[in-house]
Symmetry: C2
DNA sequence: GACTAAATGGATACCGCTGTCCACTTACGT
DNA sequence: ACGTAAGTGGACAGCGGTATCCATTTAGTC
């Protein structure tokens, strides 16, 4: 694993970080699929540097995504710390969806699994398990409908991802409204019967290699 | 406008139709963005033929999409003929969403406006107005919440579009569940306050030129 | 059946993006 | 200070896709 920051010369380590920052920004504004050259230029490094550090586009995406997943994990922690389980559930969902709107790269990455990543894998399961606990508590409190499935979270994220395209102002409004609609349906009070949940999990659901 | 079928030699007219059929099929299975050469091969014609008939990829998409919009319009007509306004509303939405799942090209096309098309424009407004009437009647019957906006339909379609990717079986299940959730929220009975609707219409909402 | 304009297909020029190679530069131990 | 290995940037070959050109074939008319 040559990507690891340890054992790197000081300047190389510096450049590595610059690349990650540039990539995050580029992915956020222009989506994954942005030319590698654009990332390199933005970072102020040459192609070779970029490719030595991140041999494939996927490895770069993976690394950037791992960082963002960490942010995500902290949101889940906040939700767990909330004394009101439903409020925690609701706030976590609203925050992640808002994040998808502002950061297009994050959005796409969420939909494009990269099974290789290791750190990423750990953060992911941490998020999954943490959120599972949030769900359990909200159900126990009688606020979240009992037939809510984790796959429904995926459903919401995927849906919101589509909403998150286009001019940011509109996208934000649209996302808020979609989330409000769905949160209302998630409430236990007026639950109506549903078709079965699809067999989707955070990794399984995804469209294969994007392109 | 060289695209028009009239005044074409018989064989040319025939080939034009073969291209449209091939394109519809190719778009449906492999998405818009399928290589033009693949469409040509599938239609059993050369590149030149394809490009003479449809000078740009967009013009081809537009034409195919116009046909599919017609199907869509007939669904709206069915909804209008339904004596139960809410049932009509519900059935129309379920049908269109199911169509998005089976036909990936249609889905993408729905998200990628092409303002130039003329026939397309007519079919579109026909669908919009027809569905507007469906909505009006469902509201009048007290079954659809009063603050439902046409933009909410766009919201649903865009969301469902993201759901419609991946293996068809899973996608279908996921779509059914999403639609069920949203339809529940659309019902007047238990309506809760919502954030304002985004200013989206069928053409306005769209992300600019796809790629 | 013969003539002509329309229609055709495949070869081809072209373009943008990826990923590699190599001659030069720089950090760091001594 | 200086040697060396690590690091660097830009040039470049390869690839997959688009759009065009032109020699050949074919439909429709007399």
């Amino acid at each position: 694993m040559p990507g690891h920051p340890s054992h790197l010369r000081a300047d190389a380590r510096d450049n590595r970080q610059r690349i990650l920052d540039a990539a995050r920004e580029a992915f956020a504004t222009r989506g994954l699929g942005v030319p590698m050259a654009a990332v390199a230029r933005r970072a102020g490094v040459g192609m070779a540097t970029l490719y030595r550090r991140f041999p494939s586009r996927e490895s770069l995406i993976t690394e950037v995504f791992a960082d963002e997943l960490t942010v995500c994990a902290s949101m889940v922690d906040e939700a767990l710390a909330d004394p009101d389980p439903w409020h925690g559930f609701r706030a976590a969902i609203e925050k992640v969806c808002a994040m998808q709107v502002t950061d297009r790269g994050f959005t796409e990455a969420f939909l494009t699994a990269f099974p290789e990543a290791v750190d990423y894998e750990r953060a992911r399961t941490r998020v999954e398990e943490g959120f599972g606990e949030v769900v359990r508590r909200a159900k126990a409190a009688g606020r979240l409908r009992a037939d809510f499935a984790m796959a429904d979270l995926m459903l919401l994220l995927k849906a919101n991802c589509a909403i998150a395209t286009g001019p940011e102002e509109e996208a934000a409004a649209a996302s808020r409204r979609l989330v409000a609609y769905l949160l209302q349906s998630f409430r236990a009070e007026h639950a109506e019967p549903l078709p079965p949940a699809p067999p989707l999990t955070l990794d399984k659901l995804i469209s294969p290699p994007a392109r």
